[in-house]
């Protein structure tokens, strides 16, 4: 099934953050806590879904020579709309994520999906592709955010009230009580080290899965001699 394929690509095989390594600037900068990571992940996912949809709809009119400027206009419009909505309804989170919301425009992953998928596919698959790519990016972001927050501060979901209001305060988990704080994880170098470990972990898992598949092969499909 094609949608299954799209999800497998977006979430695992072609994961933007861990395999294609696009959009690293926000990935590294905003992954210091889980809540920041979820906020930016959601915003990026929504941008991907709507920009893919718009590009796919405009596809018949977009001749090759104007497609790049058209993508830029579409993506910038979508991000600006999101920014205004966020400013109106999630103002505190907006203040925390700050400059990284408008900077979603420059996330190469978005223009990459517009060019390599949405400009060649019908609207529905394009939406699904945007969703899958966005979720893959969010997963990488949240994994890195959790890693850095636990090691750096000993908590998870701190400041969740920025996103969920009063109710969010009950979401905070103290994983390591009386954690003295490990600065390296919170500072930029920690982001690079964490991302490196994540990529290594993904590759290790991938290789293991591939080996398992190979090991299974001879039994399920014996060779003829």
């Amino acid at each position: 099934m094609i949608y299954r394929e799209i999800f497998a690509n977006g979430l695992w095989r072609q994961n933007t953050g861990l395999v294609v390594l696009l959009g690293l600037c926000p990935l590294l900068a905003v992954s210091n806590t889980v809540v920041n990571a979820i906020g930016l992940g959601l915003a990026t996912t929504l941008t991907l879904v709507f920009s893919n949809l718009a590009v796919s709809l405009a596809r018949p009119a977009l001749r090759p020579e104007i497609r790049i400027p058209a993508y830029v206009i579409i993506i910038a419009s979508v991000v600006t709309v999101l920014q205004m909505l966020m400013q109106a309804w999630f103002h505190d989170l907006y203040l925390v994520l700050g400059i990284f919301i408008p900077l979603i425009v420059t996330n190469c992953a978005i223009i990459g999906r517009a060019e390599s998928f949405a400009s060649r596919n019908r609207p529905l698959p394009s939406i699904v592709d945007g969703l899958a790519t966005g979720l893959g990016f969010s997963l990488a972001l949240v994994a890195l955010g959790a890693f850095r927050e636990v090691i750096g501060k000993g908590t998870l979901m701190s400041h969740a009230s920025l996103m969920f209001g009063e109710w969010g305060k009950s979401l905070q988990l103290t994983v390591i009580p009386n954690h003295p704080g490990f600065l390296l994880a919170l500072l930029p170098p920690g982001a690079f080290i964490g991302l490196g470990l994540l990529i290594a972990g993904r590759n290790w898992l991938d290789a293991r899965l591939a080996r398992n598949r190979e090991a299974m092969q001879p039994e399920s499909a014996p060779h003829e001699t």
Partner: protein, 211 residues
């Protein structure tokens, strides 16, 4: 030629659609965004002047520039709190410019007699875990300004302990607290020189900067 015109028209259409969309969303969200921005300022001011919960304080605002006390061409916002027309306190929003990493934006509430109601950090980019102890959320250091004035502890004592002053520095971070202490002292000196004029100046028209 025809192909070129068609491309231009298509691109124009995309731009037009984008603009229409943005105009629409801006129209729908502008009021709510302005309201949210007011709420944020009100919450910040309310930490220093509890009676600020009504909107009168928010609109009783002026903007000043004074290179001697607020360097780097800052535009300093000053909100004035009054009790039946009598000056009660002023809240100044200004930057400490000598921090470890960029400007530290501060809010200082100063009573009409020149003593501090309190100081809060609005935003900063100091090192997490070291310099960020200036946040009220992270440590009680910033609360130590409450009740202080130029006479208490005295002008020459307005510095961190390492420089022979009154205020604690943090382990591993002297630059950040020193920048804050110096900026607050300058704000107090500015207030001392100008406080009568400050309360007489007419307030800016509320929300005049946008829409």
């Amino acid at each position: 030629m025809k192909r070129m015109l068609r491309s231009a028209a298509a691109l124009g259409l995309v731009a037009l659609t984008g603009t229409a969309l943005l105009t629409g969303v801006d129209y729908l969200t502008a009021d709510r965004i302005a309201e949210q921005e007011r709420r944020v300022v009100l919450e910040q001011l309310g930490q220093l002047v509890p009676q600020a919960s009504d909107d009168s304080l928010l609109d009783d605002k002026i903007t000043v520039m004074d290179e001697q006390f607020f360097p780097n061409g800052q535009q300093v916002s000053i909100w004035r709190s009054r009790d039946h027309g009598e000056p009660l306190a002023a809240i100044l929003k200004f930057n400490a410019v000598n921090g470890y990493n960029g400007d530290i934006t501060l809010l200082a509430g100063i009573n009409a007699d020149g003593s501090l109601r309190g100081v809060r950090v609005i935003s900063h980019k100091e090192t997490p875990g070291l310099g960020d102890a200036i946040e009220a959320e992270k440590s009680s250091w910033i609360l130590g300004f409450s009740g202080k004035s130029l006479e208490n502890p005295g002008r020459e004592r307005w510095n961190v302990k390492r420089e022979g002053g009154e205020f604690d520095q943090f382990t591993g971070a002297t630059i950040t607290p020193r920048a804050v202490v110096n900026a607050v002292r300058l704000a107090l000196e500015y207030f001392e020189l100008n406080h009568e004029a400050l309360f007489e100046e007419p307030a800016e028209t509320p929300g005049g900067s946008r829409r």
